[in-house]
């Protein structure tokens, strides 16, 4: 049975051989067409995205030309507020401890720059032309960031003999 099918389809494949390039080019998946099938053999994501985003956008989700997409995301606002509070506290404690305000500013900037380069992690989710996709994002990263800032704050207060 299977053999028969193979022979039946073979001539078709042969006939298309001269238009090989066109036949090989995969038909573009269309999420809105119920007959269109998605091939997971193809690249489904572009991993190499440059990290250029600023601290303002911690999470961005774009859904385009898709259906049956379920996005579950946690509210990062609480975490952002804690992070801002920690940054403000670090700046405040340094400015209290270092009389020279320019120098205090430089120290704070120095610390933030180093922390930033070691821990920047932004979430960007881009869903295009997809069907039946489930995406769940959490703010684990930002909670870790808050933890790191807290460690920095504690290290500073320990050294400056404040507590």
């Amino acid at each position: 049975m299977a053999k028969k099918q193979y022979f039946a389809s073979a001539p078709g494949a042969y006939n298309n051989a001269h238009t090989n390039q066109r036949a090989r080019a995969p038909k573009r998946f269309n999420a809105l067409d119920p007959k269109s099938c998605h091939s997971f053999d193809e690249d489904t994501q572009q991993a190499n995205q440059s990290i250029k985003t600023t601290q303002q956008s911690f999470e961005s989700i774009v859904v385009k030309d898709s259906c049956d997409v379920e996005v579950t995301t946690t509210n990062t606002q609480a975490a952002v507020n804690v992070q801002i509070g920690l940054q403000a506290a670090i700046a405040l404690i340094i400015s209290i401890s270092v009389a020279d305000s320019d120098r205090a500013e430089e120290i704070t900037q120095d610390l933030y720059e180093k922390i930033k380069t070691t821990q920047v992690n932004h979430q960007q989710t881009y869903i295009e032309n997809s069907r039946g996709v489930q995406v769940t994002t959490t703010d684990t990263d930002i909670a870790v960031n808050a933890q790191i800032l807290l460690q920095v704050l504690l290290a500073i207060v320990a050294r400056l003999n404040i507590l």
Binding site: A89, T138, I162
Partner: protein, 70 residues
């Protein structure tokens, strides 16, 4: 998702502590700050203590909240 996602493994925590200690030490040294010279009056000291404690609580509740969600 479990607690592990929101808490650093212990060995990583030790490294992280060391890195941060080093970061703060070198930054202070670079800018010529001598921690011993810092003069903060008692009132400011107690305010700062309160602030740090509040922030510690916030970070803790953030982590607990995340654990609860997951």
């Amino acid at each position: 998702m479990s607690d592990q996602n929101n808490r650093m493994p212990e060995d990583l925590q030790v490294v992280s502590d060391k890195v941060i200690d080093l970061l703060v030490d070198t930054t202070f040294k670079k800018h010529g700050v001598n921690p011993q010279e810092t003069q903060v009056d008692e009132e400011t000291r107690s305010q700062l203590r309160e602030l740090v404690e509040d922030l510690q609580k916030s970070v803790k509740s953030l982590q607990e909240h995340n654990n609860g969600d997951n």
